[in-house]
């Protein structure tokens, strides 16, 4: 599936925490914005205390993307804030809206609040999965998780996304392994795999079964410098 060919009013990225939803939704927004229309990216992650869209506003705004955030004075509050403007943008015909949802059951619960808006529009949802995460390594636990989050968020899941990664140490074999596991999940759940996420530093993508979505990495990087691991 080619991201550029998708047509939808709202794109939803959800999944367990630590799978790369934020980075993916940022990159996805940039691709969509370059196609010409108005794009709004909403940070509706009420779970993560750090590494959220709100930490990268500058980069996104430079690209012309409208970033929807909690009110400035509550940006670092440990509070589950979803600003009412999210619903407003979903209703606003001018904008294509991308939702970066927080991880796990509690993060996904936010979608329930947005249900009355989502029911009125066409949405496409992506379940973002990293098979290198400790709790979701095998098809059984992934199937259980997808069913649970879909129920909890009261959304249907349109695509699985293979976001298998080891951060800066990701290799093509890791992504391939993720494809194998997700193809089993896909068959069992009758949900297609949309694409495999491939970071820009992995050059050779030969042997991948699914379409490739290239991403630039932003996390592990704040204010333009990396939390390098020199050990």
């Amino acid at each position: 599936m080619k991201v550029e060919e998708l047509k939808s009013k709202v794109f939803i990225f959800l999944g367990p925490f630590g799978t790369g939803k934020t980075e993916l939704s940022m990159n996805f927004s940039m691709v969509r914005k370059r196609m010409g229309g108005e794009v709004a990216l909403a940070d509706i992650d009420i779970i993560s205390p750090y590494f959220r869209i709100r930490d990268f506003v500058g980069i996104l705004e430079e690209e012309g993307i409208k970033v929807i955030l909690p009110p400035l004075h509550l940006l670092h509050a440990d509070l589950p804030i979803i600003t009412a403007t999210v619903g407003g943008y979903i209703e606003n015909e001018k904008y294509e809206v991308i939702l970066d949802v927080g991880g796990e059951d509690d993060g996904v619960a936010v979608l329930g609040y947005l249900k009355r808006f989502l029911d009125e529009v066409d949405y496409t949802s992506f379940m973002v999965i990293n098979t290198k995460r400790p709790l979701y390594r095998d098809p059984e636990s992934i199937v259980e998780m997808v069913e649970r989050l879909s129920r909890k968020g009261r959304v249907r899941i349109d695509f699985l996304v293979n976001s298998t990664n080891l951060g800066g140490q990701t290799e093509i074999e890791d992504i391939r392994e993720g494809e194998k596991i997700l193809s089993i999940v896909s068959e069992r759940m009758k949900i297609p795999v949309g694409f495999s996420v491939v970071p820009d530093f992995v050059k050779d993508v030969k042997g991948l079964k699914y379409d490739v979505f290239r991403i630039r990495r932003f996390l592990g990087r704040i204010g333009g410098w990396a939390y390098e691991n020199h050990s």
Partner: protein, 355 residues
């Protein structure tokens, strides 16, 4: 070692504790470490362990006291304000000689503070946050692999000295994600049963575990016995990392996340011709005084950098004994100094020395 997995710091610590044989976890959620509590809640029941969310951190520490009395590997994790609440119980456990592993994922303080990463709990961790003459062995990881490795050995250290051990991390270590390899599972059935635990006096003399003796001379004996153990820990447990110190003309001292950032600064500075190195204490207590004193004799100055207004720097001064100038730079309250910011500070001091 198993294959690499992508984990959060909190999960790295939780899984490593389980592999080290910890089957008892008591906790109370607090940002930025709640995922550790959640992880244990999910994992422990599946492997025959006990997870319990207590009504408060005060209750948690006393539950650890109880489990430790019967000789089981036990752990809790919390963040700054929660750790403050545990101090009374830790003092009791140190006096009663009860091993346990505590994890403090530091956030901005004092008070309720904020939820960003900070290093303001150094004094509390290393100088005795609770009352009385006692110490905690304090381990400070700066990568997630190190968090795994230190957590894994922390239970052995706690049992070796029959004393609480603290993993002192900060919010960044707790929340960031890195690939790690986990060690093999310790066979819990094969762990040697300590000879001091309370497991029923059937067929043997009763044992006593207490932090109380009304007779001052007896209490003094207990305390001197504790001090004897702490002296052994000082002899055996000091850990640190040298980073590009061999030809260093200037020296950084930092731990945890700050040390990680300073490695970047060391490399940036060396590109500009400033030969700076880093000593990273891994045990904050016992502190590697001798290693820093050795380096003090060779460098133009020592710059301690912390995510606080200056706490570890006092131990650096104690180590240096006036043999070189000790300078400090820090940002408190959850602000993380950037490498470029610290590089400018370093260059300013180097310029002063060279003039």
């Amino acid at each position: 070692m198993s294959e690499k997995l992508m984990v959060k710091g909190t999960e790295a610590i939780g899984e490593s504790a389980i592999r080290a044989g910890c089957r008892h976890y008591f906790g109370y959620p607090i940002t930025p470490q709640s995922e550790l509590t959640e992880y244990m809640a999910r994992r422990l029941p599946k492997i025959g362990g006990v997870f319990l969310q207590a009504e408060s951190e005060v209750a948690v520490v006393n539950m650890l006291y109880g489990v430790s009395c019967v000789g089981k590997r036990v752990m809790t994790s919390t963040s700054s304000p929660g750790f403050s609440l545990m101090q009374e119980g830790i003092s009791y456990m140190a006096c009663a000689e009860l091993p346990a592993v505590f994890v403090n994922v530091m956030r901005g303080g004092p008070g309720l503070g904020d939820i960003q990463p900070a290093q303001g709990d150094y004094f509390q961790a290393t100088k005795g946050g609770g009352h009385g003459d006692y110490r905690m062995i304090v381990l400070a990881p700066s990568t997630l692999q190190e968090a795994v490795d230190l957590t894994y050995i922390s239970f052995d250290i706690a049992e070796k000295y029959r004393n609480p051990v603290l993993i002192l991390a900060d919010g960044m270590i707790g929340q960031m994600m890195e690939p790690v390899e986990f060690p093999e599972f310790v066979d819990v059935e094969k762990l040697k049963e300590p000879d001091w635990i309370l497991n029923g006096a059937d067929g043997r003399d009763p044992r006593r575990i207490t932090s109380f003796d009304i007779d001052p001379h007896n209490l003094e004996k207990i305390i001197l016995h504790l001090m004897e153990k702490y002296r052994k820990a000082e002899e055996n447990e000091k850990r640190w990392e040298d980073f590009m110190v061999d030809d260093a003309e200037y020296l950084f001292v930092a731990y945890g996340t700050m040390a990680r950032i300073l490695k970047t600064v060391v490399k940036l500075a060396r590109k500009e011709g400033i030969k700076v190195g880093l000593i990273r204490p891994i045990t904050l207590w016992p502190f590697p005084y001798e290693r820093i004193e050795e380096m003090a004799e060779r460098v133009g100055f020592i710059l301690a950098v912390e995510m606080s207004t200056g706490q570890m720097v006092e131990d650096v001064r104690l180590a240096v004994k006036g043999k070189t100038e000790v300078l400090f730079y820090g940002r408190p309250g959850g602000v993380i100094p950037s490498p470029f910011e610290v590089l400018e500070v370093l260059k300013k001091y180097v310029k002063k020395v060279r003039v």
